[in-house]
Symmetry: C2
Subunit: 346 residues, 2 copies
Amino acid sequence: MKGRAMRVAILGATGQVGREFLRILEQRNEMEIGELRLLASARSAGSTMEFRGKKVEVIEVSEKAFEGVDIVLASAGGAISKQWAPVAVKAGCVFIDNSSAFRMEEGVPLVVPEVNGHVLKDHKGLIANPNCSTAQLVVVLKILHELGGLKRVIVSTYQSVSGAGKEGMDELDLQTKALCKDEQHAPKKFQKQIAFNLIPHIDSFADDGYTKEELKVVNESRKILEIPNLPVVCTAVRVPVRVGHSESVLVDLEKKVSVAQVRESLSNSPIVEVWDQPEENIYPTPLDCAGEDPVYVGRIRPDTSSENGINLWVVADNLRIGAALNAVRIAEYMVKHDLVGQKVAN
Amino acid sequence: MKGRAMRVAILGATGQVGREFLRILEQRNEMEIGELRLLASARSAGSTMEFRGKKVEVIEVSEKAFEGVDIVLASAGGAISKQWAPVAVKAGCVFIDNSSAFRMEEGVPLVVPEVNGHVLKDHKGLIANPNCSTAQLVVVLKILHELGGLKRVIVSTYQSVSGAGKEGMDELDLQTKALCKDEQHAPKKFQKQIAFNLIPHIDSFADDGYTKEELKVVNESRKILEIPNLPVVCTAVRVPVRVGHSESVLVDLEKKVSVAQVRESLSNSPIVEVWDQPEENIYPTPLDCAGEDPVYVGRIRPDTSSENGINLWVVADNLRIGAALNAVRIAEYMVKHDLVGQKVAN
């Protein structure tokens, strides 16, 4: 069921997530695209990118660039979003923002459509896309909550370098190549060597010893699941993997739920794939999931440390469900439910 | 305080942990070594290894090879240990075994000297060295238990390829080099590609969906800490790191303990180093800890999901505290407490 053709702008088109937006819009066909505008900084303006076999010129972001645009898909960092979101919304656009700038703001819907799409009906033009590690997690948590009631969530992440953008990917590649030749490549994007190493530090540290990345998982999960006091704790770790975030997740439930029930409910989700036949070495790894749309779940087993716990291994492409794909799905949901162009900011 | 000079044999001398035994015995000076015998399979016999500047010939393991030996440090796999441990014990040796063959056997002490060295007084010749991921964990758990009483332990591991021996290290190196040249190097030691990937599968799967590696952490921790029903759960994951196991550890305690108290108690341990100044990017990574003796702890913070929880990041060299170093420390403890040559098997 398609609505009218949408005029879409990608803000931050030349970045890692920007490129993923293009690929995803090419592959999907849920939303008809009448016009595609590629917006970036003055530095990137003038270059061209290909979309459905045609070259599209990248233009510099400006007030004028948002005129006549229905939907802006933004992934250019918090500062750029803060600058341009009000402009775009004033111009009548729906601004779907991948940065963390507005996520926790009262009145800004923070959405994974399959989890809480219903909150979009009250939007005021600005929509926030959750943090990558949160998006894949809440898809699974929502299903577990409906099954047995969430009581406590304990997460340890294994996050790929693409979460730190193209510079992160380049640093892993160049550092690895250098080390393979017994040469050095000093860390710049990351705090320490990431090749053949782990870094338990993503985003900056807050006062309580947690990183902002860890607090995002806590706070954004609570907001998306609409359980404001849900006990959640996270340890976020960068690993030398290119694309794909993995999560070791332990969930305490209010009531006892069997592994078979969990498996069935997860399998029923259109965006989850259960890969869980350990005896045949079937479980997801980030390499399997890079470039794919689903949230993959494996290693589903009863907790050995509590009565009603379920232990799982959740893997997804952080550039897709964790960023570009989820933003596009928000746009599709809004088009389908006729929520684009209906509201403007106060 | 040294005892008499010990006649030491290393069984599995040419393996990854065997070589680490040699390095550690060279570096340490707690136990005087009168004679060092290097034992291996017929295949490796005849080769030589260097110890304190002298070449020592590797000889084939046999009944005769244990004659006159006080202490055997064994790391040649479970099957070899099952074959030779009874022979060595009968010959009057103390047999300190790094394999999992005897760890859970009633009457066999499973020991990290700083945690439960006292159980060695009842030994019957055969002593088990815990699994690598358990050893570094229980050092920290013991201290937390004394502080606040352990209630529940939740662990996710990030384990290096050296835990799978030299073949594991070679596979990561060769696979990485191949991929850097856009070539392939098929997995052989590991179930899947390990370069730029993660594998949530270490050792084989048991019936309940847990791997034996995960169950080792549960069962061995309970035995070493002497808390038979301690709620423990583990997810064990192989990561593309050469040496050094990392663990994201969440501990529920019986009573409230401050981060400052935890930091102080850990700092007081002679075998723990606290690296925990996040504002200066000070926290342990496996690269920092490879080749070092301590158990490193960082990211110490109160749990955001419970009243009395403590969250930590524990890193150590899996070939040292997780294998060779701990075995040598068991030997040193036994020499110091005059427990070598005092007992023989029934």
